[in-house]
């Protein structure tokens, strides 16, 4: 029972990170119907940005931990937003009207470019982060095994919840959010009604990147180490989460993320840690084949 509770907590923490990344996938797909292949690598870039900023503030400028983290969070969101904005403007927007395969190939190329760029600029080795928030609050004890919830995990879950709530408000209640939902449903009509579709799409990319940056900060806090190759697998898992939850649905992405996090930790604990990535990819395949609209998605009826 204690193991189960621990895995539950771990799974929800991991799932929060996946959910944040998944929102980026689902929003971009919802508005322009494209799977942003490079999003996982944007997340990885954000983790590096966060790492470097953190080091600048704590070692160079000698700030204390918590204020440094807050500033790092905000700055990382801004810088990653800028990265994604640039990527969208240069690699995706020119291809928007063209051949279906072109933006996908461009995104794949961008993904390869980003991971290798980081490899070249920052070096191929793992970058360890000084550990933070190492305390754990014990919750449940059984046979000498203590299930506890770490400060880290609390921070992650709280920050995620707060940001999601902010984000939800942004999408549901503000004019920007309305414009975005309008573009998702009918781009041409939205344009005819005076909505700046280009700007809305760019902002969608920026928002997705900002949330990925939050995930990036959480990631370095949680795992304590980051590497240039860390974009691919979390990216795929987050995409699985988006599909599982229903592509195009924001709450779906979050629920999907939590589910994937739970499945991954439970699988590693109770079955085999070696095959956990196989489990993730298999889940992706199964979801796409048997449940392509996901849990909360809307089924598409094709017009003949």
């Amino acid at each position: 029972m204690a193991i189960f509770i621990q895995q539950l907590i771990n799974g929800l923490t991991l799932g929060s990170i996946y959910g944040l990344i998944a929102i980026g996938y689902t929003m971009v797909f919802g508005i322009i119907g494209m799977v942003n292949f490079a999003h996982g690598d944007v997340f990885m870039v954000s983790a590096f940005v966060a790492l470097l900023l953190f080091m600048i503030f704590t070692t160079l400028l000698n700030w204390a931990l918590v204020p440094a983290l807050l500033v790092v969070l905000v700055l990382a969101m801004a810088i990653t937003g800028l990265w994604n904005w640039t990527i969208e403007r240069t690699a995706y927007r020119p291809l928007r009207g063209s051949f279906r395969l072109a933006p996908l190939i461009s995104a794949i190329g961008m993904s390869i470019l980003l991971s290798n760029l980081i490899q070249v600029i920052q070096g191929p080795r793992n970058k360890p982060v000084p550990p933070m928030f190492t305390q754990v609050i014990p919750i449940y004890e059984e046979n000498g095994y203590v299930a506890g919830i770490g400060y880290k995990q609390i921070v992650i879950m709280v920050v995620t919840a707060v940001l999601l709530a902010l984000f939800w408000y942004l999408v549901q209640k503000t004019p920007l959010g309305r414009a975005q939902r309008a573009c998702e449903q009918d781009q041409k009509m939205a344009a005819l009604l005076g909505i700046d579709v280009d700007r809305t799409i760019s902002l969608t990319f920026v928002m997705g990147a900002a949330l990925a940056a939050v995930a990036g900060v959480m990631y370095i806090m949680y795992y304590g180490v980051v590497n240039f190759a860390d974009g691919f697998v979390p990216g795929v898992k987050a995409f699985t989460a988006a599909v599982l939850g229903g592509i195009g649905s924001l709450p779906g992405a979050v629920i999907g993320g939590l589910l994937i996090g739970l499945i991954e930790t439970m699988w590693s604990a109770y079955f085999s840690i070696d095959y956990k990535d196989v489990a993730a990819f298999s889940l992706l395949a199964i979801t796409l084949v048997f449940l392509p609209t996901g849990l909360l998605g809307r089924p598409e009826v094709e017009k003949v």
Binding site: M55, T90, D277
Partner: protein, 466 residues
């Protein structure tokens, strides 16, 4: 149907371009801080320390500004030229060159190893025939195989490397385990026996993997095939009893000259044909084997295109619903494309294992699928010639990087161009989509002609998924 219209020559907007360059510079600065400006490395105590590189940031910003300014000049000049909807010079040149080049190209390709041998001698030419010739031909064959799936039938397959792996591991396992145990006397023939078996196994996998997924639309099909490719690779890594995991399979027998091995012994090729022993003979033979396999792929593709199945593939690519309304069983049609493409991938995999003598799951990563897909898309629209050009450009280009030793003198001894291989490749993929989204060969030849053969421009071809 191009109408030539000359726009009035407008003066170059200098201030606007300068402002734009400034803006680009600022964006670049924002992008560079902190990733370029600082580098985190571990010091002696395994602690992370920061090194600053502001000069590099400055270089990037200046380059970006210059680049933006040059781009403004380019677009200005382009818009001042006569407007026409005719295809660009490169496309026109390549399309015109294609039919004329084929007999000449054929002769070149056949003569290539002998020419290299003559120029560089047996020792020096191994690299040219193997790393360039054979490597490019492997990718040409993989490209032609994937071309059936993506180029003709329009099915987005991001996991083609899975079939490559099936072919390679099939040969490796049969040749190192099954044949020595059960039919040891077949030893020298193992490659030739396993070649068709690898192809068939890969085609079978194509049917198994294709069946549940081929009804998915565009992007989803791409992701699911990617997932399958990764699953196969991860299983190969983890199922150590079967595949020997990361360590891979070694001592895979090389192909023989139809029963005569290429070794230094008395029954060896050199001894039988009264020549002095040299490893070059096997290399040249391998070259011709892969050449023959690729030509087989090309032949089958050309024939199938003229048959009803090939036409159905191209119709499927355009409009699946119309196909169904004409009685075409689209599931079977898609499966056929998938299976045939997979089969050729399997042949290529078998050859790859035989050429290397050693395989491991690291050779079958997603990046390979991406590379092959990039070759097919850059080639354009199901064009066989396009795939050849794209292979030479992408694969040959990347291999050439290894030869650029002179760059060491410019950037210092620690500079290793091959580190930048993948970076340049990713960059090239994005650039080529921006420049030629429909590929280099931007037109389609009809599969049957009544009176007059007319090429159809790629912008006419739809790529609807239902």
């Amino acid at each position: 149907m191009s109408t030539e219209m000359s726009a009035p020559s407008s003066p170059f907007p200098l201030v606007k371009s300068l402002k734009q360059a400034g803006f680009v510079g600022m964006v670049m600065f924002g992008l560079c801080v902190p990733i370029v400006a600082f580098r985190a490395e571990q010091n002696m105590n395994n602690q992370l320390v920061l090194q600053s590189r502001w000069w590099l940031t400055l270089v990037f910003c200046v380059l970006a500004m210059i680049g933006s300014f040059l781009f403004s000049l380019y677009t200005h000049q382009k818009s001042n030229k006569a407007h026409s909807s005719a295809p660009s010079t490169v496309t026109k040149a390549l399309s015109a060159l294609a039919p004329r080049l084929t007999p000449l190209g054929f002769a070149c390709v056949i003569a290539y190893p002998l020419v290299m041998l003559a120029i560089n001698g047996p020792g020096g030419s191994i690299k040219w025939i193997d790393n360039f010739g054979i490597q490019i031909l492997i990718y040409v064959m993989l490209g032609w195989g994937l071309n059936i799936v993506v180029g003709l039938a329009g099915l987005l397959d991001l996991g083609y490397v899975a079939f490559y792996a099936v072919g390679a591991y099939a040969y490796a396992l049969i040749a190192t385990k099954v044949i020595p145990d059960t039919f040891p006397e077949l030893g020298f023939w193992s490659f030739w026996i396993c070649l068709p078996i690898s192809g068939l196994l890969a085609a079978l996998w194509g049917i198994i993997l294709g069946f549940p997924v081929l009804r998915l639309r565009g992007d989803y099909l791409a992701i699911v095939t990617l997932a399958f490719g990764e699953i196969i690779r991860l299983v190969l890594i983890n199922w150590v009893d079967f595949s020997n995991g990361y360590a891979g399979l070694t001592s895979i027998p090389r192909p023989s000259f139809f029963g005569i091995p290429f070794n230094a012994s008395e029954e060896g090729f050199a001894a039988v044909f009264d020549l002095e022993f040299s490893p070059i003979y096997r290399t040249i033979f391998l070259y011709y084997v892969i050449l023959a396999l690729s030509l087989l792929t090309a032949f089958v593709t050309i024939r199938l295109r003229r048959l009803p199945i090939g036409r159905a593939w191209e119709a499927l690519r355009e409009d699946e619903i119309a196909c169904r309304s004409l009685g075409i069983n689209t599931t079977i049609t898609k499966l056929t494309a998938f299976a045939i493409g997979a089969g050729f991938g399997g042949f290529a995999g078998c050859f790859f294992a035989a050429r290397q003598g050693f395989i491991s799951p690291e050779s079958f990563v997603f990046l390979e699928s991406a590379q092959i897909l990039a070759i097919v898309v850059l080639g354009g629209m199901g064009s066989l010639f396009g795939v050849v050009v794209a292979s030479i450009a992408l694969v040959g280009g990347i291999e050439i990087l290894r030869e650029l030793d002179f760059l060491k003198q410019v950037f210092g001894e620690a500079f290793d161009p091959s580190q930048y291989r993948m970076l340049i490749f990713g960059f090239a993929m994005v650039l080529m989509m921006l420049w030629k989204p429909r590929g280099l060969i931007a037109h389609r030849e009809p599969s049957i002609v009544y009176k007059e053969k007319k090429s159809i421009g790629s912008d006419m071809v739809q790529e609807g998924h239902g």
